[in-house]
């Protein structure tokens, strides 16, 4: 099968970026919007075609999906010199397009969400000054994210990893006149850069001890023993490969906003809402999950999956903390941001509890499935929230209420997404969450209970949001809110459809850790047959309980929420202030790092380095002040000096030579 056309999936977005970026003063906004939509349609079409070819038309070998390369280029070669323990080895850095179930799934996710966001942005950003620039940045992001998901080796993933970081930075800081947006952009960039430092060290360790950057070589289970022989070093009881994996996961945790590196995500909501939907809900923030899934065989194998345990617990703790914080936030985008963090925690913990083979690899499949369905319903939630913000010009719950009459389409689509994320039966979230719960139950009971509890919290805060926006008190609006234009509601409707339909994709057949079908069912309703109804019943009950409480509290204005928050007292305040994690960071950076390290360095720089240079400069000025009188401007002085010089030269020639 020839997949060489997949290179255009990368070329089209970068070409659009260059076109829109270089000529952004010359292209009319309407045209640039259409260029973006047309380009993304082509990209999405190719992604769907690739997925169709891959999953339906290519025969499996021994029941497994094969790996294909759409394009592969040897970029840089290194030789690792011979050492006492290790033989001389060759290390190659490649660029290429790797096609396997997870990369194709991610291609579909990224292109679908990006296309929807492009269409939506044509309405949402209408009349904005930097309209074309916005689409240029979106194209850059799409390029970077596509390059990330099709990466063939660790270095390529790192290069594109940084590129998505940059485009995220540019888009968060899109409203650059707003100081808070600038601060948020800087925060996001610095926090993720800090995490990427761990990623880079992990990659270098992996290259040195693992002997390769190539995913195919690294994740080949037959090569693990050779790697273990070559890398016997232990550090604090764990092998150096596991250390490398944990460091790489640190990079993934930074991008995926896992505790304690999550602090940038809520602030990132300063960006335009379509950006939040695309980057900070559906695609970029799942890059960490994707990274762990990509390296899954290594995570699973080394040190009996110690690194995977770290992943599981970080995911579980993040999902719990984020869900609790989300209960109290009043900015609707921030609620969604914490919800995103919580759901990504789900994906992480599902990967963390997964095994490799057969049915034991359920968690892996569940994680990827949840990634897919989450991308759909979370992008929908953000876009719907953007539609609400577009209508009432505020981010805060207190300015909303009773909007269901004014925004009927937004209301219905938001409800579908909220039901899906709450795990309401027969929605996509129900299926993927069910698989996560089963995987957690089978392998790690404490994590299962955390997951279940978080599921209840999720249902509650989602419906708190839903009732708060669309029901609740009657707010008097200055301008009567009106439904958004078609360009905004069509993506909402499509994503609402996907929020349900993606539950019926046969993921257990397509995307598994060992690439063999788990259940063996085929067909539209095979997922229903595979549901573990005992597990599902508990999850449904929890979800419905959360929804019911939210109904009871928020459907009509009541004073229960105030009473409950008063009863929790200090805990409520802690939660409202996001457990003061930001303040801890500020304390560490400002009080400790800046004061104890940066200030002395700054002193040294100013008083020693700069002072030396300035001293040289000042001395030069002093000397030139002394001798500048020579340049008097009097012709006769010059002539005298010249004649005198000639005279002396003549004397020298006459008497000394």
């Amino acid at each position: 099968m020839d997949f060489s056309y997949t290179i255009f999936i990368l070329i089209i977005p970068i070409a659009m970026f260059l076109l829109l970026g270089f000529f952004y003063n010359k292209i009319k906004p309407a045209v640039s919007g259409w260029i973006g939509v047309a380009g993304l349609t082509a990209v999405a079409g190719m992604s769907y075609y690739t997925a169709y070819q891959y999953f339906f038309n290519i025969p499996k070998v021994a029941g497994k999906f094969q790996t294909f390369f759409g394009f592969k280029m040897n970029w840089m070669n290194y030789i690792l010199p011979k050492t006492e323990d290790l033989p001389e080895r060759f290390l190659a850095i490649d660029m290429g397009i790797l096609l396997d179930p997870i990369s194709i799934m991610m291609m579909v996710v990224v292109s679908t969400i990006s296309l929807m966001v492009h269409i939506y942005s044509r309405g949402y950003m209408k009349g904005d000054r930097g309209y074309t620039k916005f689409f240029a940045f979106l194209s850059l992001f799409t390029f970077a994210m596509m390059g990330l998901v099709v990466a063939t080796n660790l270095f390529q993933i790192y290069v594109f990893w940084e590129l998505v970081g940059v485009s995220s930075f540019l888009l968060i800081g899109y409203y650059y006149e707003k100081p808070s947006a600038v601060a948020a952009a800087k925060k996001a960039f610095i926090v993720t850069r800090f995490a990427d430092l761990g990623f880079l060290i992990g990659i270098l360790l992996m290259g040195y001890y693992g002997g390769s950057y190539d995913f195919m070589e690294l994740n080949n289970p037959e090569g693990f023993n050779i790697i273990l022989e070559n890398a016997p070093q232990k550090f604090m009881g764990i092998s150096v490969i596991t250390t490398a994996l944990i460091l790489m996961f640190m990079g993934g945790a930074g991008k995926s906003a896992m505790f304690p590196l999550h602090i940038w995500l809520p602030d990132a909501m300063e960006g335009p809402t379509p950006v939040s939907a695309l980057i900070h809900a559906a695609t970029m923030v799942v890059a960490g999950v994707y990274l762990v899934a990509r390296m899954f065989p290594m995570f699973h194998f080394f040190d009996d999956g110690f690194a995977l345990h770290v992943v599981a617990w970080v995911g579980a703790i993040s999902s719990l903390i984020a869900a609790i914080i989300a209960l109290t936030q009043t900015d609707i985008k921030r609620v969604l941001a914490f919800s995103t963090m919580s759901q990504i925690g789900y994906m992480m913990l599902a990967l963390g509890v997964s095994e490799y083979d057969g049915h034991e690899g359920l968690g892996y499949m569940a994680s990827m499935w949840h990634l897919f369905s989450h991308a759909m319903f979370k992008a929908l939630l953000f876009l719907a929230a953007g539609s609400v913000i577009h209508a009432v010009h505020s981010n805060y719950l207190k300015d909303m209420g009773g909007l269901r009459k004014y925004l009927p389409i937004t209301n219905i689509t938001f409800l579908i997404a909220a039901l899906s994320i709450s795990g309401f039966p027969l929605t996509a979230g129900f299926f993927s969450k069910d698989e996560i719960l089963v995987a957690a139950f089978e392998h790690n009971k404490p994590i299962y209970f955390i997951t279940l509890f978080v599921a209840g919290l999720t249902a509650f805060y989602m419906f708190r949001l839903y009732f708060g926006i669309f029901w609740g008190k009657k707010t008097a609006y200055e301008h009567t809110p009106h439904e958004s234009p078609w360009s905004m509601t069509i993506p909402l409707m499509f994503l609402a459809f996907m929020s349900i339909a993606s539950g019926y994709l046969p993921f257990s057949e397509w995307v598994t850790a060992d690439r063999e079908a788990i259940h063996g069912h085929i067909g539209l309703f095979s997922n229903l047959g595979a549901i573990h109804w005992d597990m599902a019943a508990i999850a449904i009950a929890t979800g419905l309980l959360g929804i019911a409480i939210a109904w009871f509290f928020y459907k009509k204005p009541t004073d229960y929420p105030a009473k409950i928050s008063a009863a929790f007292g200090r805990f409520y305040k802690w939660t409202f202030n996001k457990f003061y994690i930001d303040e801890v960071y500020l304390f560490i950076t400002h009080k400790i790092i800046f004061k104890c390290i940066s200030t002395p360095f700054a002193w040294f720089d100013k008083k020693v380095v700069d002072a030396t240079m300035e001293g040289i400069g000042n001395k030069t000025v002093d000397v030139s002040k002394l001798i500048k009188g020579v340049q008097s401007g009097k012709i006769q002085d010059y002539a005298f000096a010249f004649a005198g010089g000639v005279f002396i030269l003549v004397l020298i020639v006459m008497y000394m030579l």
């Binding site: 500048k628 401007g633 012709i635 002539a639």
Partner: protein, 105 residues
């Protein structure tokens, strides 16, 4: 060649003229006078060319030709200098050298 006059006397004359010209150039404050001093300097070199040509290499004429060249160049240069001085006079209503001291550090 002049009767009873040797090359030494003539060269002594031109040397004297040269230093007179140099002295004039270095000490005069009037730009016109300085220009005259420069002419003096040029004339010494012209005389030198002719004298050395006549006394040392009487068979050739290069020195004489050169003297003509120098006179032509000196005439052009003088025209230029005079025009500069006139412009300066229009600007400053003076031809004093101290008026030209603005081009300095």
């Amino acid at each position: 060649m002049i009767e009873n006059v040797s090359i030494y006397e003539l060269l002594t004359l031109t040397t004297l003229l040269f230093f007179i010209g140099l002295y004039g150039f270095l000490t005069r404050k009037n730009l016109i006078t300085m220009l005259m001093a420069i002419e003096l300097l040029l004339n010494t070199s012209v005389i030198n060319f002719v004298v050395i040509n006549k006394y040392l290499y009487p068979d050739v004429l290069q020195g004489v030709y050169f003297s003509i060249f120098i006179i032509a160049v000196a005439a052009a240069e003088t025209a230029l200098a005079i025009s500069i001085i006139i412009n300066l006079y229009r600007l400053k209503t003076s031809v004093d050298i101290s008026e030209t001291e603005t081009m300095k550090y």
